[in-house]
Each structure stands twice: as C-alpha cells, then as structure tokens.
Symmetry: C2
Subunit: 214 residues, 2 copies
C-alpha cells in the first residue's frame, strides 16, 4: 500500500500529519512524502519544517494520494497541479484535507463531484466545477475530501476502514487514543459564537492581505 503525501511551501502541517499518523499504521503501509523540490518544506505558520525526500516527478503512481491544504494552495505551483492530474488515474483513492481540495479541483479531479474544504475557502471549489458540500468528509467514488485541518484524522480513519476493514480502523483509533474532548464547542461556523467567526474571518483576511499564513 503506497501512500503518497505531497508537500508544498506554506502547507498546514496538521493537514498532512493527522492522516499520516493513521495511514502509516495500516498493515503494509509505505508512506512517501514528496515535493516538487525535494528537501525541507516549511509549513504555513513558518516555524516547522518537514522533510520531503522524494521529488514528485519521481513518483509515478500511488495507491492512496493524500493532499494537504494551507495558504500555499492560493497560488498553487502548476508543476504540483500537473502531477496531481497525472497521478490521479493510478490511485485507488485520491484524497485531500482542508484546502488541499482546491489543488484537486485545479487538477480537474473534482469536476462535477461533491467535495468539501476549509469553511473559509469552500465556495472556491465551484470555480473548478466541483460541488461545494458542507460536510466534514465527502466521499465521491474513489475521491474523498475532508474539511479544515483536523478533519484529516476523521477522513483517514474512514479511509482505513474502506481499505482494511472497520476493525483495523478501530484498532488505529484506539492506538492513537482518538476519543476527542474539545474543551470548547467552537469547531465549526455553525457552532462557534458569531463574534468568534468574525474574528477568525477578519484575521484570515488580514493575513491574506499581508501575504502571511492563514
């Protein structure tokens, strides 16, 4: 089971690591972390670097493609988008977390399909012919998209169940003790107080205007 996670400058690190922590525990999993330019890739917040030792150009196929999001998706590298377009026909599952779905969409993978993304950016999916669908995880045939950042953990567990059965997924959930107890109930635009939604919107907009991370 070849799992490929492509990174790019200003990706959101939890988008990649949430699914990694689940999928890397699947029986026989081999995870390849790749980038257009291999080497250290700096995340959105700018204080952490992950190693992507492999060039995407050297990755010709994947069983599972998992594309993270982050502010780096706003002006995507066309080489990355072209690579996603080329590898998608080889996959068993093509997946994204957060605004990674905008990269799938730019590659034409989501044409006519329901898909989700980070709540702040989800409407942009329609620019590429996808059908924005406000759910935490959206499966559409062999394509699966997750909502913002932390939703990648839920997506990966659902994916683990499809790939290796529900008992394997449950075992991984127990191994990572994923029994969430968020101390607040503000994790979606529907649940957060309107003032918090406005605070996050204006913070993101200010940072976008300044070219800074989401």
């Amino acid at each position: 089971m070849n799992i490929v996670i492509p990174l790019f400058p200003r990706f959101t690190v939890l988008d990649a690591v949430g699914p990694y922590e689940v999928l890397s525990r699947l029986p026989g999993a081999k995870v390849t972390v790749a980038a257009v330019e291999p080497g250290l890739v700096r995340d959105a917040t700018g204080m952490l670097q992950l190693d992507a030792p492999v060039a995407v150009a050297d990755v010709k196929s994947a069983d599972v493609l998992c594309v993270p999001g982050g502010p780096g998706t706003r002006r995507p590298d066309p080489r990355l988008v072209d690579w996603i377009r080329a590898i998608h026909p080889t996959t068993k599952m093509t997946t994204s977390v957060c605004t990674g779905s905008l990269l799938l969409a730019a590659a034409g993978v989501l044409e006519g399909l329901p898909a989700t993304s980070h709540w702040f950016e989800i409407d942009r999916l329609a620019d590429h012919g996808a059908i924005p669908t406000r759910r935490r995880i959206v499966f559409a045939g062999k394509v699966a998209t997750a909502a913002g950042v932390s939703a990648g953990i839920d997506l990966a567990l659902a994916l683990a169940a499809r790939l290796d059965g529900e008992d394997v997924a449950r075992a991984i959930q127990l191994a990572i003790e994923y029994d969430p107890e968020p101390p607040f109930d503000a994790g979606s635009v529907e649940k957060a107080p309107p003032a918090i939604v406005e605070l996050v919107r204006s913070t993101i907009q200010k940072r976008m205007a300044a070219g800074a991370p989401l």
Copy 2:
C-alpha cells in the same frame, strides 16, 4: 511566548504536531523545535522526518514546554531527561502528550502529582512517583499532561485558553475546524470492543519485543 517542543528518535509525530498546530497560532507565539542532536529526527513509524534545527543544550528557558511521546521514551536519552529537569523551573507551563509524561516523570517533574499518559503505558508513571490518573487531560499546577497521541490537540486548546483566554482558544479551534466526528467510537479502552483492545495490546507487545515502533 516561547514554546519549546523537544523531539527525539522514534517520537510520535502527531503528539508534537497536534499541539504545534494550536500553539503556533497563539498571538506572539515563537515555537522552537529542538533535539539533543539537532537536525532531522525520524518519527516512530519511521517514514517521516521533522527538522529540529536547535540543540536542546542551547535552549535555556521556555514559557511553554511541550514534550511529545512515542516508543523512543522507553529508553530515554539521559541528556534529554536532564535538560527537561533543568528547564522546568523556567517555564510557565510544562506539558506532555502521550508517553511524553514518562519523560517528565523521569525528570522528577511529576513527583507526587496526578498525571496521565497513553493508556498502554500509564501505570509506569507510578515508577517515578507520579499518580496515574486516567483522564484525557490532567492539570496539576503549572504541569499538564495529555493522554495518547490525539489528546495533545485537546490539551493545547485548554492551554491556549489559560494563556490567552477562551476566545482565542475558540478562534483557533474554528481556524483548525476542530469539530471531531470520529467514524467509530473506539478511541478509549473503555469504549473499544474488548477484541480490539486485545488486538492493539498484542500488536504493541509484539512490536516492543521486536524493538519496532508502538
């Protein structure tokens, strides 16, 4: 706000990245990723490397110390344990995720304090005078410990609220869309079917015997 995350070979990457994704978004946050031997540090599953550009020996103080866990805690590097012992008196908050609490315990930080850890290892806390406490997050004065792996996200949000107020914590929760929907309800030993608990226990024991990751 200086946040220090020490890495070590065979750490569990989500233990570190869950809190990183939350705490790096705090106003004025500066995150330092450090290691006894700076450079790339390989995670427990062995297929991902994070960069730890700073030597712990060069980190003399921290506002927030956040120690991840992982199989690398079983035979901890005494230099790391000594460093934790030395830096703890400088912190506003000393925290751990998963078996990171075993490193805090080895450093004497948890002497006489209630603390939690990964469910598989929690009893070992008592070896160092801590009081094993089966909760997802345990605060004891300026020390806070989280249960296994994914619990670091919950810990970090609770910590964000203590450091910068509940609205900042809620805003970060919304920014990372942390509205968890695990597809199964198997995230704790109390909730998982007994056969799944046994499967994970035996898998961990086999891997320990083989010297492989948790």
